[in-house]
């Protein structure tokens, strides 16, 4: 959701920590198949999983969302548009008043597809780029990917789609391009959406090289404070320890207001923790998604009071809430301690204490293709 919702008083935030009747921000990755191979892919996507939900099963999931009054679902992948039944699922969802916000690399948004999308209600589109120009973007997302994303934006604009979103993962290489990214969005009348780089999936391998420096984090924080209309999906709440809170709920919503359904129907606590440790169940289980959301032991645990651990004595804990669970987990840090990008530097200290050879969590869900785009390759 992205949790693109207005700031609310603390009392409501406390209610959110205890969980909701259904998620506000439900991410659904439709396929692990992807025609790109971004070096920071959260889900290590590439190859389709043979066990992915069938069209009938996917429609069953949509029926559940409609019954639970999930007002909209954030669809991603992989590249969701490579699923042959993508438009069938899109129509099925909006027909049941489950709005769809989908993230795409844009490669499949041809002129006719753009017109088809423009004719639909309750569809929002996020085109991903990770730089304001081809060299910066293509170093992360692969050669030609910036040009493809621009073609998609041009096609949507020509089709009169209306306001789409341009979604950017912030990296050391593109933080200096914040104004240029805002300019790109303005050019299309689009909304800019910035999200945090996580050391999840292939992002674990590239996080060291890509994650913003401490000085860049401060720049980003002040840039965002001046621009409350820029969407962040509540990504940067760890930066709220730098001063006034950023727009949004400013809490980790994992299992409380947020969760992920992956392409094989597995339900995880959030889109950034595709790992057995955060696997709550499957939509294929008896009772379906609703049962997993309401009663899985993992989600019940996440909704119970959490220990602030090493952060308990820090005066900024109320502001940053200890940061992102996924960022801690995949850098080998304890969950009840500082975020690796803690703005007070406690994360760096904790990482240094772990040493260079600390074991990091391994994943069984890697769908990367054998040959990958190399970081730094010029487009």
């Amino acid at each position: 959701m992205s949790v693109d919702v207005p700031t609310q008083p603390l009392v409501l935030k406390d209610r959110f920590k205890q969980g909701l009747a259904a998620p506000i921000c439900l991410t659904w990755e439709l396929t692990y198949a992807c025609n790109l191979a971004c070096v920071h892919c959260l889900s290590s996507s590439g190859r389709r999983d043979p066990n992915e939900l069938t069209t009938a099963e996917a429609m069953g999931v949509i029926d559940e969302m409609a019954a639970l009054q999930v007002f909209y679902v954030n669809v991603g992948g992989g590249e969701p548009m490579v699923r042959a039944d993508f438009f069938d699922l899109l129509s099925y969802a909006v027909g049941r008043k489950v709005g769809v916000k989908f993230s795409t690399n844009g490669t499949r948004i041809s002129a006719p597809r753009a017109q088809q999308l423009a004719a639909m209600d309750y569809v929002d589109i996020q085109i991903s780029v990770d730089g304001a120009d081809a060299p910066t973007n293509d170093a992360v997302r692969g050669e030609g990917s910036f040009a493809a994303a621009r073609r998609a934006m041009d096609n949507l604009a020509a089709a009169g789609f209306g306001q789409f979103k341009i979604s950017v993962v912030m990296t050391r290489q593109n933080v200096p391009q914040l104004d240029a990214l805002a300019g790109l969005a303005e050019h299309y009348g689009a909304q800019l959406r910035l999200t945090r780089l996580r050391p999840s999936g292939r992002g674990a391998d590239t996080w060291e090289q890509l994650h913003p420096t401490a000085a860049q984090q401060r720049d980003l924080y002040h840039w965002l404070i001046d621009r409350p209309d820029v969407l962040t999906g509540d990504s940067f709440f760890h930066l709220s320890a730098l001063g006034d809170p950023l727009e949004g709920l400013n809490l980790c919503g994992a299992g409380r207001v947020v969760c992920l359904i992956d392409p094989v129907g597995d339900v995880y606590a959030c889109p950034f923790v595709i790992h057995d440790e955060f696997l709550a169940g499957s939509v294929r289980d008896r009772g379906g998604f609703a049962e997993v959301w309401a009663h899985s032991p993992l989600f019940e645990e996440l909704r119970s009071p959490q220990s602030a651990g090493a952060c308990a004595s820090c005066g900024s804990f109320d502001a940053c809430q200890g940061g992102c669970m996924a960022a801690k987990f995949f850098t080998g840090l304890p969950l009840d301690g500082p975020d690796p990008e803690c703005v007070l530097g406690h994360g760096e200290t904790a990482l240094a204490a772990l040493g260079a050879h600390a074991p990091l969590p391994s994943v069984r869900t890697d769908h990367s293709r054998a040959v990958q785009v190399r970081l730094g390759r010029k487009g």
Partner: protein, 97 residues
């Protein structure tokens, strides 16, 4: 993509008029009250008490918002509920019938 009226055309809140839940808004009950989602402007709004949810759902049955507030708002809370309805009018959760 959105069907929201421009700000200038939106009705200002007048408790003497008859109101209703906006036809493009869906309510989902939650322990704290309800979530209201507007399918036109895509905004999510939180209704932060059960009584408020009941009030919003019941507006349609009363000749005026003031009558609905009198019937449903807890004693001494009428002014606060009136202010909240004005806020919900601005975010188009409710509209004039």
């Amino acid at each position: 993509m959105t069907n929201a009226a421009p700000v200038a055309e939106r009705a200002l809140f007048d408790a003497a008029l008859a109101w209703r839940l906006h036809p493009q808004v869906a309510l989902r009950d939650e322990a704290f009250g309800a979530l209201a989602y507007h399918y036109g402007n895509r905004r999510l709004v939180f209704l932060k008490s059960r009584a408020l949810v009941e009030l919003v759902r019941s507006l349609e049955q009363y000749g005026s918002a003031a009558d609905a507030i009198d019937a449903i708002a807890p004693p001494g809370e009428a002014q606060r509920y009136r202010a909240t309805l004005a806020r919900l009018c601005r975010s188009e959760v409710i509209d004039v019938r």
